[in-house]
């Protein structure tokens, strides 16, 4: 066992690091009071520079704006890029989920038209999946698509659409035939977000931010040429997107072991560092073991990729463990600040507002990209081979399924 790169990996890492060291620092610093639009603009500049130098969408084919890199090279690049605090957030969904779906289902001409612009950050894509009536039960979605000549007319509402307000295109799953059972009557499209009839409304979150949106569709016309997969095959196409989502949504981030350790070392309880308190030490040990377990689980996955093997299912635990850890560390950090734990002023509390942001952000992370409960179902079914839930809506025409409304 060792943690070393192979010679080829080391050479690739050196090349990546040389590019990053020479170029990344200029794109790291946020301006004071940077607006979201300024943040997105900074991100587009960085993405463009990466694309011009062959560092965008590394695992995509070259003809679509990628590099044709191996999974291992992509991991090395991500490790190196994440050493800098770069504005890559706006592209995560487009490049992580929309792109791979287009690669799998779009025509050759469409791929050549859209993917290079996606890779270079010129256009940003979003994912129009969840609905008020279809969250964990995504296939319960109701947004209707009705064929009209060479076009489809779409009406309905999507929700939790990250970045819809600055996106140019989106991938969209709709219900084309409500008389068929739930999973069979779906059809998938890609859509110009500037089309007439699309209205985007931001949702204010409990953390105060507004990364998500409601997206309303009123008689939106989509050319049939922008259909991905056959009519009625929308569920299979969605699965392609969701498989990529599982890869894209990983460690919750935020304040982690190092931050709570430093806080416990700096705050005193009755004259002694909180770090000396047995109750504090026990929690620190638990979080260290979780963080370490996730880190080395990830190393095992990387080892398999490095050997050219398909990794096992171990990484499926990452989000479910890290999201709760993020929440508990945030909550306990506030406890350590005692009466001052409720303050929301970065100048008056330690670590900026890192623990406050953990506390307020983690509830969302426990839901986004698969709830804790859905992820446990996935582990139980796909890893342990337990039977799927018995469904009362199976085989019933969608428009006869009870909805409670």
């Amino acid at each position: 066992m060792n943690f070393n790169d192979t010679p080829q990996e080391a050479a690739f890492r050196a090349e990546a690091r040389a590019f990053l060291d020479a170029n990344a620092p200029k794109y790291v610093a946020a301006r004071r009071n940077e607006t979201e639009a300024q943040y997105v603009a900074r991100g587009k500049q960085w993405q463009k520079l990466k694309a011009e130098n062959g560092w965008a969408c590394l695992n995509w084919p070259k003809e679509y704006g990628g590099r044709g890199a191996t999974p291992m090279e992509l991991i090395i690049w991500n490790q190196e890029e994440s050493r800098y605090d770069l504005p890559v957030g706006p592209f995560a969904i487009g490049l992580g989920m929309c792109g791979p779906t287009m690669i799998a289902y779009a025509t050759e001409a469409q791929k050549r038209e859209h993917l290079p612009k996606m890779a270079s950050g010129e256009v940003i894509w979003c994912q129009l999946f969840s609905e008020p009536a279809g969250g964990s039960d995504l296939a319960a979605l109701r947004t209707r698509a009705v064929k009209d000549g060479d076009e489809w007319i779409v009406n309905g509402q999507k929700i939790w659409t990250s970045g819809a307000h600055y996106s140019d295109w989106g991938i969209l799953v709709t219900r084309s035939d409500p008389s068929l059972p739930k999973h069979k009557g779906l059809t998938f499209f890609f859509v110009d977000m500037h089309s007439p009839g699309i209205e985007v409304k931001p949702i204010k979150q409990i953390s105060g931010g507004a990364n998500f949106n409601e997206v309303y569709f009123t008689d939106v016309r989509i050319p049939d040429a922008q259909r991905l997969g056959a009519v009625g095959q929308g569920w299979q196409v969605s699965i392609t997107t969701l498989m990529n989502e599982r890869l894209a949504v990983g460690n919750a981030g935020g304040a982690d072991f190092d931050e709570i350790y430093d806080l416990a070392a700096s705050i005193k309880i009755d004259g002694k560092p909180a770090l000396a308190n047995p109750a504090v030490r026990e929690k620190l040990a638990d979080w260290y073991c979780q963080a370490s377990g996730l880190k080395f689980t990830n190393y095992r996955v990387i080892s398999a990729l490095s050997r050219g093997q398909t990794p096992g299912p171990e990484n499926s635990i990452t989000k479910v463990v890290s999201a709760v850890k993020q929440q508990d560390i945030g909550s306990f950090g506030l406890d350590l600040m005692d009466m001052g734990g409720i303050l929301m002023d970065a100048k008056k509390v330690p670590a900026g507002l890192a623990f406050q942001m953990n506390f307020l952000g983690a509830p969302g992370y426990r839901i986004a990209g698969g709830t804790d409960e859905i992820l446990r179902n996935i582990i139980a079914e796909r890893v342990l081979g337990l039977p799927p839930d018995i469904r009362v809506d199976k085989g019933i025409p969608f428009n006869e399924v009870p909805t409670g409304s």
Binding site: M1, N2, F3, N4, D5, E9, Y261, L275, P278, R281, E282, L284, A285, D286, Y288, C289, Q290, S292, G293, L294, K295, F296, T297, Y299, R300, I302, S303, A304, S306, R307, E314, I317, V320, V321, E373, L375, R376, N377, I379, A380, E381, V383, L384, G385, L386, P387, P388, D389, I390
Partner: protein
């Protein structure tokens, strides 16, 4: 990045699995549980013949001189099968203590016998139902004898010799090698939570003792032995956790209630998913421990404590929730669930309890950050 066992090590795993499946099925473990014998003779003899006792002992002491990764592989399989043998006492504790602190003469005298399985060794630390430490250690050493009572001592009823922690004046302590067949030693088997592993009470009455390591360094030496043994026991714990998880999963697939497999209920699925999560975290931390043990890394105290804590928690979680998944039948003597439950608790206290290891983990992190 190469953070997996090699093909050769995985081949060793397959050999170990097939030997243990044939020689040491749960019915053999149960015979020890219900019977009088201290361990399963056929399994122990077979392990010796396969060279397992010699695995990590250097060739100059008639061992095979393979690495600790091989020993970790065997430990996981022994844990999975709940093998009732004195392997851990003799190898993880006895042989390791002598390798770490023995004089050349002591190594030459003891290690070949342990490698060949001719002798069984053990470590005698505990003194009843409270932790032993600098403020609580009653066994006393004079110049070359010791006096006191150790209980419980794993395999103390079958071992040829024990490495005994005893105190001198002024709260210092040292490790001593004591011949358990010699004068001044009486021992008897004691009842424990896990009768598949034999334990003894050993009384020393001016028993001849030979110093092991540096005088006055007993607690420090002991911690070094524990750090190494913790990694190996953690692999046993992960093997046990995986076996209990597999048993619960299989039962949930075959047992029907309300007209469906109980494994189709989310209450059971989520329970089994949590067992998988705990086992996966523990296994990955064990790999970290294996890396540190096999490379002599300075991170060993942190890696060992991390592996120990998460493997202890995983085995406990899987063993107790396996019983819960089985419902009432899981509570019967007839079903095998309780054998994992018993072993999980034995392994969670045998090197000192979970709270002490959590505290030690944080202390080791503090020390690393101060350095």
């Amino acid at each position: 990045m190469n953070f997996e066992f090699s093909d050769e090590q995985n081949l060793l795993r397959e050999q170990a699995q097939s030997f243990l499946a044939k020689t040491c099925p749960l019915s053999a473990v149960r015979k020890v549980l219900d019977g009088k014998q201290p361990f399963d003779e056929a399994t122990w003899r077979g392990m010796i013949q396969l060279g397992w006792t010699a695995t990590a002992i250097p060739e100059q002491y008639e061992g095979l001189g393979l690495g600790y990764l091989e020993l970790c592989v065997l430990a996981e399989e022994l844990g999975r099968s709940l093998a009732p043998t004195p392997f851990s006492s003799s190898i993880y504790l006895g042989a390791e203590a002598i390798l770490l602190f023995g004089s050349p003469a002591q190594k030459s005298r003891y290690l070949p016998k342990l490698a060949a399985g001719e002798w069984i060794a053990t470590l005698a630390v505990g003194e009843g139902a409270a932790p032993v430490g600098p403020t609580r250690l009653r066994t006393k050493a004079t110049a070359d004898t010791i006096k006191g009572t150790k209980i419980p001592v794993a395999d103390g009823d079958v071992a040829e010799f024990a490495i005994v922690l005893a105190k001198e004046e002024k709260r210092t302590a040292s490790l001593y090698i004591v011949d358990l067949n010699g004068t001044g030693v009486t021992r008897k088997t004691v009842a424990t939570l896990d009768p598949t592993r034999s334990h003894a009470e050993i009384r020393f009455k001016d028993a001849p003792a030979e110093l092991l390591g540096t005088r006055g360094q007993g607690f420090e030496h002991l911690q070094q032995v524990f750090d190494r043994a913790a990694v190996l026991f953690a692999f046993e714990q992960v093997g046990g956790a995986q076996a209990a998880l597999d048993m619960g999963r299989d039962y949930a697939l075959g047992r029907y209630a309300f007209g469906r497999p109980i494994g189709s209920f989310q209450a059971i699925k989520h329970k089994l998913a949590d067992m998988y999560i705990a086992t996966t975290l523990a296994r990955s931390n064990c790999y970290y421990g294996a890396w540190a043990l096999s490379t002599g890394a300075k991170e060993l105290p942190i890696a060992a404590a991390t592996a120990r804590v998460s493997a202890t928690e995983a085995f406990h979680e899987c063993a107790k929730e396996n019983i819960q998944t089985h419902g009432g039948m899981g509570f019967t003597w007839e079903f095998d669930c309780h054998m994992y439950y018993r072993r999980a608790k034995l392994l969670s206290v045998n090197l000192g309890s979970l709270p002490r290891w959590k505290d030690r983990l944080v202390s080791s992190i503090e020390a690393a950050r101060a350095a």
